[in-house]
């Protein structure tokens, strides 16, 4: 294989206790990371046709945990670990979905000599997987089950070989030696009890919350995967990697140098914190915001979240910080619209409506409601969810399933109180950046992709039109169409060149193809690349070529991205996805759908002129969204009626082997 790959993937069956390997070369056409994971999921979970893919907790659910070829090569920001499986988080159905996390687990996986690990089956008792270079063992986790994520990591570190005190000595692993600790991907008590909100944790403050894949760990009785390695990664052009880094670092003021910043391995950005909470590292700079109105409590609450194994994005309580007065917003918003609204927002709504409390319609037991807003309340909430006590049992199932249990689903969904953009997933930005919103329905929840937010913002110099023209040169292969960036949402222009037009379909497709290849498969942190205002797309291909030696053009890599995106689509089609099932929650069609905009808002073209607009009154039109789907399906080569990939599309993308499975299931798109 080319540089960057180790050439083999671990395959662990927890039911049979078998440990085998998969040849990475078999999946090289999918790039790495999520691309490979998606293809492996197809081969092991979909193609055999033995599973209906309804229940994420079925032992037949396959969990590829994958790393990309650029990880552990010195390329910054590319060490993320991708996780995919049938997601327990999505509502009303379990959808195929992915999440990823940074830190050092992915890079260590590579240094141990592996491009990933694929977990199948279900252990009959709690286990953890111990990877030390080429040695892979399934270990008993009886003593670890029930422990928080920090204590578990400390115990495993001691067991694996941390015989000397931190920082004092090298220790030997086989013929190699290292000063590093093992890197551990694991679940906390909330994952053990299969909360659909559970996040995978690594290190002291890094989490993958999207998709609830930690609950899949729990369902498989898998507490943790530990890995440590001392191998070398071969790269095509070591000098080229360093030259690319130095080139990127020439941007003035790009990178922070103040004491206390931190990075993933081996990134440039420093957008973490070496905080005294979270055990010395945060998930990202955002996490400190999220749990309480007092910063000190907030840090401590976030630390508790990580220890329990829950990402704070899922339990967002900071309603006031990200809210805006929206003219015409429904009364239930009380004049405030939160940008990110998950469990915390919904609980707050129920409380202020007088529905939640001791002995009320929704009994809050065992939550100390008189301590609302305090750290003690947050901790009690986590404990209730982890142990599924009282209201915690319903909340562990996520907002929609909890509302369903309380008989409030239809009412709260239709009123907009359940402010979850699509598939029951925590809302995160979306409007007015509609490409983000569309990705929610076309995928299976939060794409967590900020790529266009700053580039379409109000330019600091030159006109908006000039800025968009420059941008449109970078969005290969959909170049020279600045109406891709038109966010007109009202009147004729919305359909002609705005958010319901074929132009917008191109922007959404670009973001999905880019994300599929560069962020999910080459594993570049999406906070790192793309940089559509400066380095992209040159930077991506510089790094890619230096590591792999491949001469793929940027357009070629985008084609691989489309291939991965289409394969992902095929998996969803196999478990029931169609045009009719992918839709927004009702609030997206109501005033108040949009939150506040940063970067000066979004570009709007109306009456022959461009302007930047904060668009606080943006909301969607049902027919417009339906028309958008038609344009998008046509662009992707999916059939108009169902949104199913056609034979020609699959074959053109090199996915011909998926045709038979889809056809036999009656789900091949009509030509």
């Amino acid at each position: 294989m080319t540089g960057g790959y180790t050439g083999k993937i671990i395959r662990v069956n927890l039911t049979t206790k078998e440990v085998g390997t998969i040849d990475t070369a078999k999946y090289e056409e999918f790039g790495g990371g999520y691309g490979m994971g998606t293809a492996i999921f197809w081969d092991l979970a979909v193609s055999p046709g033995e599973w209906d893919m309804k229940d994420a907790y079925d032992p037949r659910n396959v969990l590829p945990i994958m790393v990309g070829p650029l990880a552990a090569t010195g390329v910054p920001g590319a060490g993320r670990t991708s996780v995919c499986s049938l997601s327990p988080e999505t509502f009303p159905t379990c959808e195929f979905w992915r999440g990823n996390l940074g830190g050092r687990f992915g890079t260590m996986m590579k240094l141990a000599g592996w491009d990933g690990v694929v977990v199948e089956g279900k252990a009959d008792k709690p286990v953890w997987i111990n990877i030390i270079n080429d040695q892979v063992k399934i270990e008993d986790a009886k003593e670890l089950w029930g422990l928080d994520t920090w204590e578990t990591q400390n115990r495993i570190t001691s067991m694996v070989g941390g015989k000397t005190r931190y920082g004092e000595e090298w220790y030997e692993i086989g013929s190699g030696s290292t000063t590093a600790r093992p890197e551990i991907l694991l679940i906390g008590p909330i994952g053990e009890t299969k909360s659909r909100l559970a996040a995978l944790i690594t290190g002291s403050g890094v989490s993958a919350r999207i998709g609830g894949h930690a609950a899949v760990f729990g369902s498989k009785n898998l507490k943790a995967i530990s890995v440590i390695g001392t191998n070398s990664i071969q790269v095509s052009d070591p000098k080229g990697i360093l030259e690319a880094r130095l080139h990127q670092m020439q941007s003035p003021g790009s990178f922070p140098t103040q004491p206390g910043a931190a990075s993933c391995m081996p990134c440039l950005k420093g957008d973490r914190r070496r905080s005294n909470y979270y055990g010395g590292e945060t998930m990202c700079a955002c996490q400190g915001w999220l749990s309480s109105h007092k910063m000190s409590d907030s840090d401590r609450a976030a630390e508790a979240l990580i220890k329990y194994g829950l990402s704070s994005w899922s339990a967002h309580f900071h309603v006031d910080m990200f809210s805006q007065n929206i003219p015409g917003a429904p009364a239930l918003f009380r004049g405030k619209v939160p940008t990110d609204s998950g469990l915390g927002w919904y609980l707050q709504y129920l409380k202020q409506e007088g529905l939640l409390g001791p002995g009320k319609e929704i009994d809050s037991d065992p939550l100390p409601m008189d301590q609302w807003g305090e750290l003690s309340f947050r901790q009690a909430l986590l404990d209730a969810v982890a142990n599924r006590t009282g209201i915690g049992d319903a909340l562990a199932e996520g907002c929609c399933r909890a509302a369903e249990k309380w008989g409030r689903l239809e009412k709260d969904r239709d009123s907009g109180a359940l402010r979850l953009t699509a598939w029951g997933a925590t809302a995160h930005w979306t409007m007015p950046w509609v490409e983000w919103a569309y990705a929610y329905i076309l995928g299976a929840g939060d794409p967590a992709w900020h790529g266009f937010m700053a580039p379409v913002g109000k330019p600091s110099e030159g006109t908006l039109e000039q800025s968009l023209e420059k941008l449109s040169k970078r969005t290969i292969p959909y170049t020279d169409d600045i109406f891709m960036f038109n966010y007109a949402w009202k009147g004729e222009e919305a359909w002609k060149t705005g958010i319901y037009s074929p132009h917008k379909a191109k922007q959404v497709a670009w973001s999905r193809h880019y994300s599929s290849f560069w962020n999910e498969s080459m594993a570049f942190c999406e906070m790192f690349l793309p940089e559509l205002g400066s380095h992209s797309p040159e930077m991506e291909t510089m790094y890619y070529k230096a590591v792999t030696g491949k001469d793929d053009s940027f357009a070629g890599t985008m084609r691989i991205g489309q291939k991965i995106w289409t394969l992902e689509r095929a998996i969803r089609v196999m478990h029931g996805r169609s045009r009719q099932t992918e839709d927004f929650f009702p609030y997206m069609y109501m005033p108040g759908a949009s939150g506040f905009a940063i970067y000066g808002g979004v570009p709007v073209y109306e009456k022959g002129k461009w302007r930047s607009d904060l668009a606080p009154d943006m909301y969607l039109d049902r027919k417009g969204v339906d028309d958008f789907k038609t344009h998008f399906y046509a662009l992707e080569g999916w059939d108009k009626e169902h949104g199913w990939p056609t034979r020609k599309t699959l074959e053109d993308l090199g996915l011909g082997r998926m045709v038979k499975t889809l056809r036999d299931s009656g789900k091949l798109g009509a030509a």
Partner: protein
């Protein structure tokens, strides 16, 4: 590889086999824990009560600011890429050790382990073959000649720092140490005390710096120094969004 003329530290050739056969006459100075320069450690490292040899000091030293370090380990990748042509932190001559998941509090959560180019280089002093030497043609940098290293590990045993700064290369069965990029075949720049070091240049936090005067040798304070830039205006990620929120509200009204 460019081989420099060696003046100091040169000894008669000894093979690994000869060395192992006759046994080491060197006492590991590692038991000292913290390096104290001068006669104490030298005397312990040399069983014979002879005066310690003196060496011309290096004209280059890498100092660091452990508060600034991002823990990204970019320097480790830069080191192994430039010297060995592969990516492998275990082959890096600089080690950045993060204490997650042991959760030591900032600023003690990161240990920066950088070769000190000691004024009294015990690794040079104790090397039985002269493979570890003072390179007088390159600013007196303390180096290991990979062609003459017999892999006895004496320099590793001798290094008084914890973790030891001399690094074992299991792929070549030799020891390695920081050479300030004098011999870094995959580094596209001139290295050495008057040139550029990959770790220093690659560090995004500017937490490493080359200096030319010997730092204080008695403890770590000579090397772990304040390299922080002046603090920026009080504007962080959090109040950036808050500010935008406030602006949005004003403009939206």
């Amino acid at each position: 590889m460019t081989k420099s003329k060696k003046v100091e530290g040169k000894k008669e050739s000894v093979s690994r086999r000869d060395f192992l056969k006759t046994g080491s006459t060197v006492i590991a100075a590692g038991a000292l824990g913290v390096y104290a320069s001068g006669s104490t450690s030298t005397a312990l490292a040399n069983p014979d009560p002879v005066e310690a040899p003196s060496y011309a000091p290096s004209t280059g030293y890498i100092v660091w600011d452990s508060r600034l370090c991002l823990g990204c380990q970019s320097c480790m990748y830069a080191c192994s890429l430039t010297h060995e042509g592969v990516a492998n932190p275990s082959l890096s001559r600089i080690q950045i050790i993060r204490d997650a998941p042991s959760f030591t509090k900032y600023p003690y959560d990161i240990t920066m382990s950088v070769c000190r180019q000691c004024v009294t280089p015990i690794c040079v002093q104790n090397c039985p073959t002269g493979a570890c030497y003072v390179d007088t043609e390159n600013g007196n940098v303390r180096r290991i000649d990979p062609n003459e290293c017999i892999g006895c590990g004496t320099c590793i045993e001798s290094c008084p720092q914890r973790p030891h700064r001399t690094v074992w290369n299991p792929e070549k069965d030799i020891s390695m140490k920081c050479d300030l990029c004098v011999d870094a075949p995959y580094w596209g720049r001139e290295g050495g005390p008057n040139g550029y070091q990959a770790c220093v240049e690659i560090c995004p936090a500017k937490a490493l710096k080359l200096v030319h005067e010997p730092p204080l040798q008695t403890d770590v304070t000579g090397y772990d120094v304040d390299l922080a830039p002046p603090p920026p205006p009080p504007r962080n990620f959090m109040n950036f969004f808050q500010q935008n929120s406030d602006d949005s509200k004003k403009k939206g009204e």
